[in-house]
């Protein structure tokens, strides 16, 4: 097919007069059954490069994409153009997915979008193997995810690589990404193999205004945002480094009457969907999020992206800021950096990214002796689920463990004749990541054009400077604190107490409150001193803070009984603390909640599943009738996974307690239940 012929068809189906040159280069190669890796910035029109050939081929084009929202959007666009397309995902019902697969089998679809994780789904695989299922082309979207050198490697992409390698010669394959360094590009090309041709466009985003603001404290970031956020037009995203900070920043904006909401991986799916939709409809000035938000947001008019925490590499950064200004209109990109403390988090990610070797060995030994699922391995090794996941992904990559599918369950098997664990590759990767973080720090320090810096890093040679960044404009942005703003922030921080959300299903548990986060301020240190360094009772300022938290959350509410969680190892600290609380609030205190059997300290148990087992039926009230029909305030020092409060709440509800609310000194972040 000539370009002219193709463009005639393009106009009749898609309504465009012509292709960009790079688009046609890609399409021409695909039509000839070649393999292409396309690296182009957001907004280039990468999708058309496969959507057009898909309409010309006989059979179904399968598109692997990790972005569900994007797939939904693309499918809708295709359907509007009259191109039969659909996608299967975990968000559909089984019947809907079955229907889609059925349509593809019967030649009723031209494009079928699939999440890579679906390669583990037996049903769709059964169908795609059917000889009547005519496959025309395979597309791998966000192809940088197949590279461990990339910034967000997705383990299920490994299966895609194998698949692509198994596809015959002269079968068209397109891999696309908006972010790939030379190293990632080489890696993708090697992995996909079979004479793949790389086509790279320039990565300059001419509408992004890049700024860096150097600060001396977290407070300064909050002050600057309070003074300036409303001055930026439109809605945007603020990325923080931790889940706690998403909440604190969002509450701070709420306090300032700025419409904001926090978003992170621990939020339930329904709420996440609502927030995503709210963002699309500009219901918020900003969404404060960890990097959990983004993969899946296709909003063309995100007007600003702010990072309160420096990312681990310029690739991460380019990817995250790339979500701004897809419509091509001016957008603002701001990075805060506090040289005194902001290195800690990225370094801990890099250094703590991989579990210790002995934990790998533990998993290998376990899998060697028994064929287990993820749960089984977590239980048998007493490792955190996240760690087991990381370890398994590495072991699968190294060919030591294989993932088998039994019904719909995954079982892990040791592979006979497997090689020894190769830790050298981990070390190489760690060093590469440290280098990339150094480059990120160079981005902060550079006095040259920032866009050029990013493009250079990504292997794109930019002929001239962007003319828009703070360095090009020679305009250094600084924080100018005012007393008024500082006072507001102080007031906010003193009165901000984390809410303890508890599972209310089948119990009379109610949300409670903590005086602080464990890691924020010096609360954690004070607790540690008392508990593990013979520091005596919890200090009185903790008592005052906790009482303040109580009043802010419960107001003047009265509780019939104060109970406290019986200790495993820290003696009478909680008991004494509960006594003081009960006295100050003038509630009745009971010492009758006891352990009915010895439990291990929850702290030493790594896995959430075992934590639950450790506590099951572990508590007893000496006089079971004592709390019938009464409300209970439950005191403890630390709230981690919430498993303890949940177990006690369940037990007390059975005994007739009408309400059980936790009052805790500190809440930790990131329990794995």
């Amino acid at each position: 097919m000539t370009r002219q012929q193709a463009e005639q068809k393009l106009e009749s189906t898609f309504g465009f007069r012509q292709f960009h040159d790079n688009q046609w280069t890609v399409i021409d190669k695909l039509l000839q059954g070649k393999r292409v890796l396309l690296i182009e910035k957001t907004g280039f029109g990468k999708s058309l490069c496969y959507q057009f050939p898909a309409t010309q081929f006989e059979g179904v084009t399968i598109v692997f994409s990790p972005l569900i929202a994007l797939m939904r959007d693309q499918v809708q666009k295709m359907q509007e153009l009259g191109v039969p397309a659909n996608f299967i995902s975990s968000q559909h019902t089984e019947q809907e997915n079955d229907q889609t697969i059925h349509d593809a089998l019967n030649g009723k679809l031209k494009i079928l979008y699939i999440h890579p994780a679906r390669m583990e789904n037996v049903k769709w695989l059964e169908t795609v193997r059917d000889r009547d299922f005519k496959i025309a082309m395979v597309v791998v979207d966000e192809a940088h995810c197949i590279s461990t050198w990339g910034h967000d490697f997705i383990p299920s992409y490994r299966k895609i690589i194998t698949l692509v390698n198994l596809l015959p010669l002269n079968f068209p394959v397109l891999a696309t990404t908006a972010t790939a360094t030379q190293r990632v590009e080489d890696d993708i090309a090697t992995q996909i193999g079979k004479n793949i041709v790389s086509i790279r466009g320039n990565l300059l985003r001419a509408n992004l205004n890049l700024f860096v603001i150097t600060v001396q404290s977290e407070d300064e970031k909050m002050v600057w945002l309070a003074q300036n956020l409303e001055k930026i037009q439109g809605a945007g995203v603020i990325y923080t480094g931790t889940r706690v900070n998403t909440e604190i920043y969002a509450k701070w904006f709420e306090y300032l009457k700025i419409r904001a909401v926090h978003y992170n991986a621990s939020i339930d799916t329904e709420t996440k969907k609502e927030i995503e939709q709210g963002l699309m409809k500009n219901e918020y000035k900003c969404v404060v999020s960890t990097n959990a938000l983004g993969m899946g947001i296709d909003k063309p008019d995100i007007r600003f992206v702010v990072h309160t925490q420096i990312p681990v590499s310029p690739i991460h950064y380019y990817q995250e800021i790339g979500r701004a200004g897809r419509d091509g209109k001016p957008s603002f990109i701001i990075l805060f950096y506090n040289p005194n403390q902001d290195k800690t988090l990225p370094l801990s990610f890099i250094e703590g990214g991989r579990p210790e070797t002995k934990k790998y060995q533990k998993v290998i030994d376990t899998v060697k002796s028994e064929r287990l699922g993820l749960h089984g391995i977590v239980k048998a090794t007493n490792l955190k689920k996240n760690q087991v996941n990381v370890i398994l992904a590495d072991l699968i990559a190294q060919g030591i463990v294989v993932e088998t599918i039994e019904g719909n369950r995954k079982k892990y098997e040791f592979k006979f004749g497997a090689p020894e664990l190769d830790t050298q590759s981990f070390e190489t990767l760690r060093k590469a990541k440290l280098n990339e973080f150094d480059e990120m720090l160079n981005y902060w320090e550079t006095r040259d054009c920032r866009m050029k810096f990013l493009c250079d890093f990504l292997g794109d040679v930019l002929p001239s400077n962007c003319g828009l960044c703070d360095n090009c404009r020679k305009r250094k942005v600084q924080v100018e604190a005012t007393k008024e703003c500082n006072d507001k922030l102080a007031d906010f921080l003193e009165n901000y107490f984390p809410i303890l959300e508890v599972e209310k299903k089948n119990t009379n548990l109610a949300d409670g409150v903590a005086a602080s986060y464990y890691g924020v301020s010096n609360v954690g240190k004070a607790l540690h001193r008392s508990k593990y360094e013979k520091g005596g009772d919890f200090p009185d300022w903790l008592l005052r803070m906790t009482l303040k938290a109580f009043h802010s959350h419960f107001g003047k509410e009265k509780f019939d009984v104060v109970l406290y969680v019986p200790p495993t190892e820290s003696g009478d600290l909680v008991k004494n603390f509960a006594e003081k609380i009960a006295k100050a609030l003038d509630f009745k205190l009971s010492h009758n909640l006891k352990k009915s059997r010895t439990t291990s300290s929850q702290k030493i148990i790594q896995s959430g599943i075992l934590k639950k087992d450790n506590l099951k039926d572990a508590f007893a009230l000496e006089d079971p009738n004592e709390i019938d029909g009464k409300s209970v305030l439950l005191i403890d020092d630390i709230f981690d996974s919430g498993a303890t409060v949940k177990e006690i709440g369940k037990y007390l509800s059975k005994l007739g307690a009408t309400k059980i609310a936790p009052l805790i000194i500190a809440k930790t972040v990131g329990g794995d239940l």
Binding site: R129, K159, L163, L166, L167, F416, G417
Partner: protein, 377 residues
């Protein structure tokens, strides 16, 4: 190890509809041996199929159809390989030399395996017998498997009830190595892999299938698997055979192929066909599997009449090796004391008997083993 990208091509070739193993293998020989080509290159050289590979138009059309299934087989191969299954094609140094020597061009084009492939290279024995074997036969299987394990010989088992399972379990108990030859596709054997997980991961058991990885168990596949068991073994021990069924048919087939077969000499009170097999040329062995030089079978043979009848069947077989005949024609040449219908029934029960319809009558024949075209080590 077979190159990853070749796997879907092997699956596609091995599962060519209606071609039959021998025809497929002949093509494989032309590709990988005569022309030293990878399958991927072969499938890319469609324009040479006619001249270089002397393929007919019908064959080319079959191959073109098969080619269009390559992407589908890529999906199958990914699923299979990622779950730890492997394939061993007939030209691989990892392929069982015993199997190739015994079956020649009829050897399966592709083995689907899980476990320690090195087992395919070891000395091997098969201990076969009825599914409902007597206790004494099971004990015999146990003894022979134990002895084999002590001598580092691999026990080949068809994973059927009775003698097969006994042989496998004894080999495992005595820390020997075994091959499980499946009557089904390898990806449908989840429960067995779960059960023998430790042995597989420790390298003591290799699971082998010669069928499409997703094929469900069937009686047909179970029958088709039997010759693979015999052919994978260097030595064949019969624990117990009746006068029909898989064991009997397998041994008779083995005789025709010139294989030495060891049969347990039964006690006088046993009711089975072991003596009959010994009379027909099998080597008698004692309860420990040792050869009894002077088995003195004739005196102990309790059913001389039937033996004669069986010998009659052997005559039939040697007749059919040379000609294609209807049962009626056979009876004209040999007096067997049975009707043509009875003979037809008996013929159908035998393995490797093929039929062809000529002038509306069913003719029977045995296809000769073809000389090998493989470079055998």
């Amino acid at each position: 190890m077979t190159q990853l990208s070749e796997v879907p091509y092997w699956i596609t070739l091995a599962n060519l509809p209606k071609w039959g193993t021998e025809k497929i293998n002949r093509l494989v020989v032309k590709i990988v041996h005569d022309n030293r080509m990878a399958l991927e290159a072969f499938f890319q050289s469609e324009d040479e199929w006619k001249d270089k590979f002397s393929l007919s138009d019908a064959e080319i059309s079959d191959l073109q159809n098969a080619k269009s299934e390559l992407p589908n087989h890529a999906f199958l191969a990914e699923d299979m390989l990622s779950q730890g299954f492997e394939v061993v094609p007939i030209n691989s140094p990892e392929y069982s030399k015993t199997l190739k020597a015994n079956l020649k061009l009829k050897a399966p084009t592709l083995l689907y395996v899980k476990g320690n492939k090195q087992i395919l290279q070891e000395n091997s024995i098969a201990i076969v017998g009825s599914r409902d074997a007597d206790e004494i036969s099971l004990q015999f299987a146990d003894h022979v498997a134990q002895k084999a394990s002590q001598q580092y010989k691999v026990v080949v088992s068809g994973f059927a009830k009775g003698v097969d399972k006994q042989a496998l379990d004894s080999a495992i108990l005595h820390k020997g190595q075994s091959i499980i030859v499946l009557p089904q596709g390898i990806m449908t054997f989840g429960s067995g892999i779960k059960r023998y997980y430790k042995e597989i991961t420790h390298g003591d058991v290799l699971v082998v299938s010669t069928f499409h990885p997703k094929a469900a168990w069937s009686a047909g596949l179970a029958m088709a698997r039997n010759p693979i068991i015999y052919a994978l073994a260097s030595e064949i021990f019969v624990a117990q055979s009746s006068e029909s069924g898989g064991t009997w048919a397998g041994v008779i087939d083995g005789f025709r192929k010139g294989r030495t077969i060891f049969v347990r000499k039964p006690n006088p009170d046993e009711n089975n066909a072991n003596l009959l097999l010994i009379a027909k040329g099998a080597k008698a062995v004692d309860f420990e599997g040792n050869i009894i030089e002077d088995a003195n079978v004739a005196e102990n043979t309790e059913k001389p009449v039937e033996a004669a009848e069986k010998n009659g069947m052997d005559e039939v077989l040697s007749l059919l090796e040379k000609q294609i005949l209807t049962p009626k024609q056979i009876l004209e040449k040999l007096s067997l004391g049975m009707t043509d219908k009875e003979l037809a029934k008996k013929l159908k029960a035998l393995p490797n008997i093929q039929t062809i319809k000529k002038s509306n009558k069913i003719h029977y024949f045995i296809k000769q083993d073809s000389p090998t075209l493989f470079a055998m080590e």
